[in-house]
């Protein structure tokens, strides 16, 4: 990019490489495998030989209850998927608007910036649980004419309000990371402030924040379980029902597995994107 970046880029910087799961190479593999086996064997041994293991096994790892509850928890998990997919789409838009408003320069836009700051401070500061409770139980209780009483709707609104505040800050950090000279170059060509933002600043900013954005989405996906508090029967609530019917915790395990199946690949994808980003930047600067 600019000449400033060149001086520091001549040698690789191993300390800055990603700390995600990198597979060891060559002779390291044998050591890694052995070490992994030993560690997990030791942990397994401690677990199985714990005094209460028999009871824990019975109430958390019951194969029969697992098989029984699996289909209905799976069915209910689709509710979670629907909730967080809708929430994610809305959050991407709302948060971007918030971040743009917060980044508007000049005294004219002060009241708008102020509102964005208050919004972000408020919804980041209040526990998401409370927001969902207040909206999902409070608004239907008002019995406003023409306003929906659908708890799913209000729960979704709660999730969007809270997570938009976090994601807006992620976007903003991206916008702030684009050097002002980029905007100056765009404006010097006659682009308006909006044009510079749209064609020059935001495309670069969004690309930079994809990893932290996905990270927030992992958090959001788990938060979809909070909507169970409004009586929505999603995976966690379904497991709760199954667990109390069977006097056994195994259905919760199923729910946990479903969340893991979804969030772990997303986490790995995030790592991969971060790695790729670093590699690309290094390759680019190193090419000169």
């Amino acid at each position: 990019m600019s000449g400033i970046a060149d001086s520091s880029a001549n040698e690789p910087l191993p300390s800055r490489r990603s700390r995600s799961l990198r597979r060891p190479r060559g002779g390291g593999i044998l050591i890694a495998v052995t070490s992994t086996l030993v560690v997990f064997a030791a942990l397994g041994y401690i677990l199985v030989n714990a005094p209460g293991w028999a009871r824990v096994q019975e109430s958390f790892f019951d194969a029969e209850i697992f098989a029984d509850a699996f289909p209905e928890v799976a069915q209910a998990f689709l509710v979670n998927v629907r909730i967080f997919l809708m929430a994610e789409a809305l959050i991407l838009v709302v948060a971007l608007l918030l971040a743009v408003v917060r980044s508007l320069p000049g005294p004219v836009f002060f009241p708008f910036r102020l509102m964005a700051v208050i919004y972000i401070d408020f919804f980041r500061g209040v526990p998401g649980l409370l927001v969902i409770y207040l909206l999902g139980l409070g608004i239907p209780a008002l019995r406003l004419p023409g306003v929906t009483n659908d708890v799913l709707f209000w729960g979704l609104v709660g999730l969007v309000l809270v997570w938009s505040a976090y994601v807006a800050e992620v976007y903003r950090s991206g916008i702030d990371s684009i050097h002002p000279s980029q905007e100056a170059a765009a404006r010097s060509l006659g682009l308006s402030r909006f044009g510079a933002l749209r064609y020059v600043v935001l495309p670069q900013a969004v690309r930079r924040v994809i990893p932290p954005l996905l990270n927030d989405f992992i958090g959001l996906q788990k938060d979809s379980a909070l909507l169970s508090l409004l009586g929505i029967v999603e995976a966690f609530r379904r497991a709760q029902i199954a667990a109390s019917a069977a006097f056994d915790f195994t259905p919760y395990l199923i729910t946990a597995l479903f969340f893991l199946v979804l969030t772990v690949p997303l986490a790995r994808l995030t790592d991969w994107l971060v790695d790729r980003d670093r590699r690309q930047r290094y390759a680019q600067v190193g090419a000169r």
Binding site: M1, S2, G3, I4, S181, Q182, A184, A185, A186, R187, S188, L189, G190, L191, S192, G195, Y199, V200, P203, Q204, R207, Q284, V285, A287, R288
Partner: protein, 257 residues
């Protein structure tokens, strides 16, 4: 040619009157007066911090001025309520650090403003961009991304990007200062070609040899004012002001002239 003679023979491209600009308590420009005729090439020289870059950024309205007037092609651009976006279309600027858009190909860098600002069709803009890139030896870089180009190539792309808006006035802000020495020539050659083609240019530069070569007139900036101006032959061989002599002595001692 004297300043008066230049101003008399060609219409004015740029007039600056009593320009003041401060950043907080730091007064950078303290009353700049300057006239540039159409097709004239004016080089701004002076020590770092003498206000050359700030002056160029003020002419492009990238910095709001505190006091004074700037008139471009007979239009006062510093008047209240002037449409800065519209004015900037006609004034190109090329920066020291290139400032290409790293997420766009060379072609897109060049066509962005013509399509989005002037509303030209993508095809027409691309055809013209391709022609310009060819003219400056960059046709094979059309689809590359800026990071894959050398500094000299990037700076030439930046010049082409500014030219694609067909500016009446081109401002060049120390465009060779970030380049490795062996890449300076290819960029200066582009400027020579533009000067020969009659482009009106105001060039802030540390390349004294180049300034002597190309300028119709040299302005020496010191302490936020134009301390001395005149044809390059006189400024470089027979400076009248003591501070001009001092500055040039330092340059000569540094082996830069």
């Amino acid at each position: 040619m004297s300043i008066a003679a230049v101003a008399a023979t060609a219409p004015e491209a740029l007039r600056i009157e009593g320009l003041y600009k401060s950043f907080g308590r730091l007064e950078v420009l303290k009353g700049i007066d300057m006239v540039v005729a159409q097709h004239e090439v004016v080089c701004l020289i002076g020590a770092s911090g003498s206000g050359k870059s700030t002056l160029l950024r003020c002419i492009n309205l990238l910095e709001p001025v505190d006091e004074g007037r700037i008139t471009v092609a007979g239009q006062e651009i510093t008047r209240r309520g002037a449409d800065a976006d519209r004015i900037r279309r006609g004034i190109g600027i090329v920066f020291q650090a290139f400032n290409l858009f790293p997420h766009m190909s060379v072609l897109r860098n060049v066509t962005l403003a013509p399509t989005k600002v002037l509303g030209r069709s993508r095809r027409a803009a691309e055809a013209e961009a391709t022609e310009l890139l060819e003219r400056f030896g960059l046709s094979d870089k059309r689809d590359e991304y800026p990071d894959r180009l050398s500094g000299g190539q990037q700076q030439r792309v930046a010049i082409v990007r500014a030219l694609a808006m067909r500016p009446e006035l081109l401002l060049l802000d120390e465009i060779t200062s970030a380049l490795d020495p062996e890449l300076v020539a290819e960029v200066l050659d582009v400027i020579r070609e533009l000067a020969a083609a009659g482009m009106t240019m105001v060039i802030a530069t540390h390349e004294m040899g180049f300034a002597r070569d190309i300028a119709d007139r040299v302005c020496f900036l010191d302490g936020g004012v134009v301390a001395e101006e005149g044809p390059p032959a006189r400024i470089f061989s027979d400076p009248q002001e003591a501070r001009t002599r001092q500055f040039l002595d330092r340059i000569i001692r540094a082996g830069r002239l």
